[in-house]
Point group: C2
């Protein structure tokens, strides 16, 4: 019975560790966060970590997935048919900019941060990042396709390329805000991408 | 005399450490590289490190500066008046893409990597990053201004905004190549920015 309990740890502790990892990894990066930093933030005993995760990399994959799931509510804006598609896209981008501003441009995007820090070295993290970028691109692409159909976005670029470009350029703009600590890169992003998308 | 020698270490050893730091930090990141990793790569005694640098952060600032200086030869392409300005810009971007390809998309840009990893935490590194982004933007902006003057780039966006947007979007595209391990993000970047710049 004891063995059974050890193999099936309380789910809530695992959840706490993943939540703490999202926050800690976002703020301090993967190599800047120790397992102890994360278990302390989770108010979990350090020894409990390896009951739940094989490695810090394994936790990083789970934290990326959790971060992505938390973004689902905002991605719903892209599908909110009470607004026309281009307005949905703009509302979504405004929302992302608002989150960056709320964090005083200190944290950037966990997905972008992990891409520069980890993708060169760690295969499971890179695979998760690729999957999330793919899904994120699709969410934007659907909205762009609808906006092309109602003539509010140019049609001489395919919606997948536009979505990839918007997303990558967004990551680049957010990277720059971490250096500048203001939203000027985000404003330039919005001005330039509006000019690009204009039919 | 011995004290004098200790206070004025051989410049070549310091140079070796900075060169090794550029390579090591670029490949493994700031928190992923120890002082020992760097001194070993420099074939320098670990103990010599603190004769030359106050801290690893201090070395990171020097490494960023060295990385920037190494890019001067390629930035000269932006001023090479044997080509018209838009062609200069395209040749420069091709050159950057070639460097990323040569590194098999594993390393990204040291300036971009340090921005996501360090800018949130370390003031001197952030100040250096801001200065380098500023100087890099200016180099691109001059070329864009000339291209607007000869009617090869649209004029309804100011050259500074175009330069900031190109640079940040480039960083975002390069970030994505680290995840994808191929140049599709760079191709999308070129296609979308050509569409944007077109008068």
């Amino acid at each position: 019975m004891t063995g059974h309990i050890q193999c099936m740890p309380r789910p809530s502790l695992k959840e706490q560790i993943v939540d703490a990892a999202v926050e800690t990894l976002h703020r301090k990066g993967f190599n800047g966060s120790s397992v102890q930093d994360i278990t302390e933030a989770a108010q979990a005993p350090k020894g409990s970590f390896y009951n739940h995760f094989e490695s810090k990399e394994d936790l990083a994959v789970a934290a990326l997935q959790r971060y992505w799931e938390r973004g689902e509510t905002s991605r719903e804006m892209l599908r909110d048919t009470q607004y026309p598609p281009l307005e949905r896209l703009n509302r979504y981008l405004d929302h992302l900019a608002g989150s960056a501003r709320k964090a005083e441009f200190r944290k950037g995007c966990l997905i972008g941060n992990m891409s520069t820090e980890m993708a060169g070295e760690n295969r499971p993290v890179r695979a998760r990042l690729a999957a999330l970028f793919g899904a994120w691109t699709e969410a934007i692409e659907s909205c762009v396709r609808e906006a092309q159909a109602d003539d509010s976005v140019r049609r001489d670029l395919d919606p997948a390329s536009i979505a990839v470009f918007l997303l990558n350029s967004w990551e680049g703009a957010l990277l720059r805000t971490k250096v500048d600590r203001n939203d000027s890169a985000l404003e330039v992003f919005r001005r330039a991408t509006s000019a690009l998308l204009s039919p």
